[in-house]
Symmetry: C2
Subunit: 201 residues, 2 copies
């Protein structure tokens, strides 16, 4: 298989590009990264992480989209978050110690990911400590997004939440199954369908 000049396969290249947006890795260390990651593809609705199972891995989305959810008392799935290209996802309370996950992660479409376990990450960061800068900045951004989301949850009515979402993530609204988007926004699918009609007309 033809590889790119830095020894990254086309599959791992998106991760390297993402890392290089945030930090610079010494060129001689770049080739160390690839073997630490497992490349995996999931079909729509396939499970990456199951609630109630130990969480050993975190996932970098190369292509596709996943949703993070938990099972309600009544047996329905509540979507708490989504992740798309260039986002990391996992249950980050469970990941550092391989504890039992409080969330499931499932593909909402055909999805390619790069996977690393906490143990392998520990080894990787010993060899390439520069990656801590990347993860520092990536988690800072993820936390900043949470701060804004908490503000939106207080500030906006349900209809305004949808409008805001449509304005900031138009491609995303087209892309994810509407019943998952409804769940994420705390709507019934019927209510989402109603306000969608309103904004499309």
């Amino acid at each position: 298989m033809r590889q790119t000049s830095n020894n990254f396969t086309p599959v791992t290249q998106p991760l390297l590009s993402h890392i290089q947006k945030f930090t610079s890795i010494p060129p001689d260390k770049i080739s160390l990264l690839e073997p630490f990651f497992e490349h995996k593809t999931y079909k729509k609705k396939e499970v990456l992480l199951a609630e109630g199972q130990r969480c050993f891995e975190k996932f970098f989305i190369v292509k596709g989209c996943v949703h993070l959810s938990y099972l309600r008392q009544n047996g329905t799935e509540q979507t708490v978050d989504f992740a798309m290209e260039n986002w990391w996802t996992s249950d980050f309370s469970a990941f550092p110690t391989a504890a039992v996950s409080k969330f499931s992660i499932r593909a909402t479409e055909h999805t390619e990911v790069l996977i690393i376990t906490a143990d392998r990450q520990h080894e990787l960061l010993q060899q390439v400590p520069e990656l801590n800068e990347y993860f520092h900045l990536v988690f800072q951004r993820a936390y900043a997004a949470c701060q804004m989301r908490f503000r939106f949850l207080f500030e906006f009515s349900k209809e305004e939440l949808y409008q805001n979402f449509l304005q900031n993530f138009p491609a995303f609204v087209q892309r994810v199954p509407q019943y998952l988007l409804a769940s994420f926004l705390g709507f019934t699918p019927e209510y989402l369908s109603e306000i969608r009609k309103k904004y499309l007309s």
Copy 2:
């Protein structure tokens, strides 16, 4: 002034202890840290960061408690989060580029903090890149707490949110002004007072 053997003043010691819980800094580099931080105290209700002003700084809480809020259209303050000892706080969307803050941060009691600007942090991380590991792990934990909070917001009724809060942070519930806790939980102060009576009796 007598200093501790590692040249950290008693004021900076809590930060060093917190760093050392997450990572190890080479002993010869520890003395580099102190000059990067400004120590400041705030009286109850004093403002650390004002919504609408540029955000230059992030804050490590040495002692005390602050709340993060924004101004609603109707002129009342909505509390979005709190931070206490050993937490970092700021508007983390604004901090990296000194952008305009979408939040205010205000002391809820007499509060001591260590302050660093983004520019100074940049210099510090060049001299002590090991601190990226600390910030990686600190932001991972903060993001993990957000994931759980989103789950709680979907899962619990308002009364259950309060119960959960009381169970997990009993000292905290005693410590913060009740009208701020009510705001944070999305209650009216009257409703919080009602359910407090119920759980105290």
